[in-house]
Symmetry: C2
DNA sequence: ATACGGGTTCCCCTTACAGGAAGGTCAAGG
DNA sequence: CCTTGACCTTCCTGTAAGGGGAACCCGTAT
């Protein structure tokens, strides 16, 4: 298979696939004309990468997962550790986003959004600066 | 105020403040010794930046918000538009993260996490590759 | 002969800073 | 007077994960 084929089958852009070769995640053969020649196992890895990346695993996570994937002797607990760590990061990010969402929703709801210049959003964003200054001055 | 003072008061690292000057978000004076000399209005802007960034606004969003902040004539609707666009992006990101969370939770729950090599997580991540290959072959 | 649809390498661009080197400044202490 | 240490300065490099595009081969169909 040429890069276009694996690109279509894996759903990854060709650029991404070349990049993954660059950083040593896949090592396709080369044809006589210099084209990359991918085997089924390469396609497997790339598809795996696509899924793991879409779940938000970093490249380094993926590298570790791929190594475990290749290792028929590894314990499933090794994989579970990586996955749970990642789940923890997702939880954290979710919490942050939910807070942002809440705060911003409040601000937006309070803003009239008309032609007048009064805007609780800007007021909310700038709140605190004066207090901090006077606290230092006192 | 020197950079260390505004850093402490705004909560932003000095590096970040210098960066914000680089890209034209603040324009502090200079003392005779070459040190940056910040006025209260600079501190206000930087504090504003800190809050807006912590809510996930991009630098470009912040640049626009700062311009609106400085413009006593702007309509609050201008601000509301930016905020609502950002809220939409947050919603989107939340949805994605929740999906990731769900999928990964399923996979982790199904994994025994013991010494045996069978791992539903890896199986789940690699699912699909074979089907796609055979679909092409047929 | 040429057009076109692959493929290749190479280099710069992105976001929003962080880290660190090399060196100037300022106030306090010996 | 010298040093020490905390600040400050600029400049350069690096990050994650590729994207965009130039300049150039390859193979086939017209």
């Amino acid at each position: 298979m040429n890069i276009g084929d694996v690109s279509r089958l894996s759903g990854l852009p060709a650029k991404t696939i070349r990049y993954y070769e660059d950083i040593g995640l896949v090592a396709p053969q080369r044809s006589d004309n210099g084209y990359r020649s991918f085997r089924d196992s390469d396609l497997h890895k790339l598809t795996f990468m696509g899924r793991a990346r879409s779940l938000g695993f970093t490249i380094e996570d993926c590298r570790n997962l791929l190594a475990l994937y290749d290792d028929r002797e590894r314990a499933s607990s090794d994989v579970k550790v990586i996955a749970r760590e990642h789940l923890g990061r997702i939880d954290q990010k979710l919490k942050e986003l939910q807070e942002m969402h809440e705060t911003l929703t409040h601000l937006v709801d309070e803003c009239a959004g008309d032609h007048r210049p009064d805007c609780p959003i800007l007021a909310g964003l700038s709140a605190g600066a004066d207090e901090e200054l006077s606290a230092v001055a006192s």
